[in-house]
């Protein structure tokens, strides 16, 4: 695979993973600022190792052991279940039906909780390590899911997805270190909107490939599929704005 092809193949995983890394970085930053950096960095490192093992075992096993068509149908189904859920939430947020995801609010809430727990200077900060470990592992599991999903096409696709996810991690972590503040400038809700559409489009694509359907233009068919999801999502947000012009800001569980 040449560099340009690799970049194109790695881009969806890069964008999707970046969203998850932003959320994990917010928590790790909050721990580091309130309780010192040693424990959260060790927690982050432990979670990264755990994730590498999960991706290596699950991803490589899935790609190499499960028959190709069955794998594509399985991964396509999972992508649709999670992708359409993300897309639905993003549309409801844009229409003002549920509250927007705000990294600054999450960061301040996390700071207050961590400060309230107090800090023992004499021993290793287990609370800081565990909070960072959990945040990185949970968001990282979603990254692992994204990598396995985008890498379902075979070894090259898996490698490209891994490259995209690692690059996203490096960029987000470097930005977090440089700014020492949550990455509120990242248009997270827009990215989630795009990621939901991308995951759903890949879900349709893989599921149909699993049924041995030939797409016109092969992977290029992904472009009109993503476009269809984006157009319908935009129109749906407009429809919701007509139903509730003032918005609602209700709990996601109530709609």
């Amino acid at each position: 695979m040449d560099l340009v092809s690799l970049l194109i193949a790695a881009t969806p995983a890069f964008i999707a993973s970046a969203v998850e890394f932003v959320e994990a970085t917010t928590i790790v930053l909050a721990v580091g600022v309130t309780r010192g950096w040693r424990a959260p960095l060790l927690g982050t490192l432990a979670a990264a190792v755990a994730l590498a093992v999960i991706i290596a075992l699950l991803g490589v096993t899935l790609v190499n052991v499960v028959p190709e068509h069955a794998l594509k149908m399985f991964v396509g189904s999972l992508l649709l279940l999670f992708g359409l859920r993300w897309l639905r939430k993003a549309i409801l947020r844009f229409a003002g039906i549920i509250a927007l995801h705000d990294e600054e609010v999450i960061y301040q809430k996390e700071l207050a909780e961590l400060r309230a727990q107090g800090l023992s200077r004499s021993e290793f900060d287990k609370v800081g390590a565990v909070v960072a470990f959990k945040a990185v592992l949970l968001e990282g599991l979603e990254v692992a899911f994204i990598v396995i999903a985008f890498g379902a096409g075979g070894t090259q696709a898996l490698n490209a997805a891994i490259v995209g996810a690692i690059a996203a991690g490096i960029v987000v972590i470097l930005l977090g270190i440089a700014l020492r503040h949550p990455l509120t400038m990242v248009p997270e809700n827009w990215m989630k909107f795009g990621v939901g559409a991308m995951l759903s489009a890949f879900g349709v694509f893989w599921f149909a490939e699993g049924l041995e359907v030939q797409w016109p233009g092969d992977a290029l068919a992904l472009l009109p599929i993503i476009g269809a999801f984006l157009i319908v999502s935009y129109l749906s947000a407009r429809m919701l704005a007509m139903i509730l012009p003032e918005g609602a800001h209700v709990n996601a569980r109530n709609v």
């Binding site: 149908m73 189904s77 649709l80 279940l81 999670f82 359409l84 859920r85 897309l87 639905r88 549309i91 409801l92 229409a95 039906i97 959990k134 592992l137 949970l138 599991l141 759903s200 349709v204 694509f205 599921f207 149909a208 049924l211 041995e212 359907v213 030939q214 797409w215 068919a221 599929i225 269809a228 999801f229 319908v232 999502s233 129109l235 749906s236 429809m239 919701l240 139903i243 509730l244 609602a248 209700v250 996601a252 569980r253 109530n254 709609v255």
Partner: protein
């Protein structure tokens, strides 16, 4: 970690249960159509799945909008 997994499963099955059921039904319908429905259906199964899912999203969001309107007016 278990809490996070549980929240995802709960969210998928309860919060977005109707959407999840709709997706699974759409996948089964398209699988049946592509497998038993002749070559024309098989060739166009991908586009049919896309159309079904787009319709599902619009209907689900329309219902969500009306649910939210009832919640705030109640």
């Amino acid at each position: 970690m278990l809490k996070g997994v549980w929240e995802n499963v709960y969210g998928l099955l309860v919060e977005d249960g109707q959407l999840a059921v709709g997706i699974v039904v759409s996948l089964v319908v398209i699988w049946a159509a592509a497998t038993y429905g002749g070559s024309a259906l098989h060739e166009n199964a991908g586009w049919l799945l896309l159309a079904l899912l787009l319709a599902l999203v619009v209907v689900n969001l329309y219902a969500a909008g009306h649910n939210a309107r009832h919640k705030i007016s109640a």
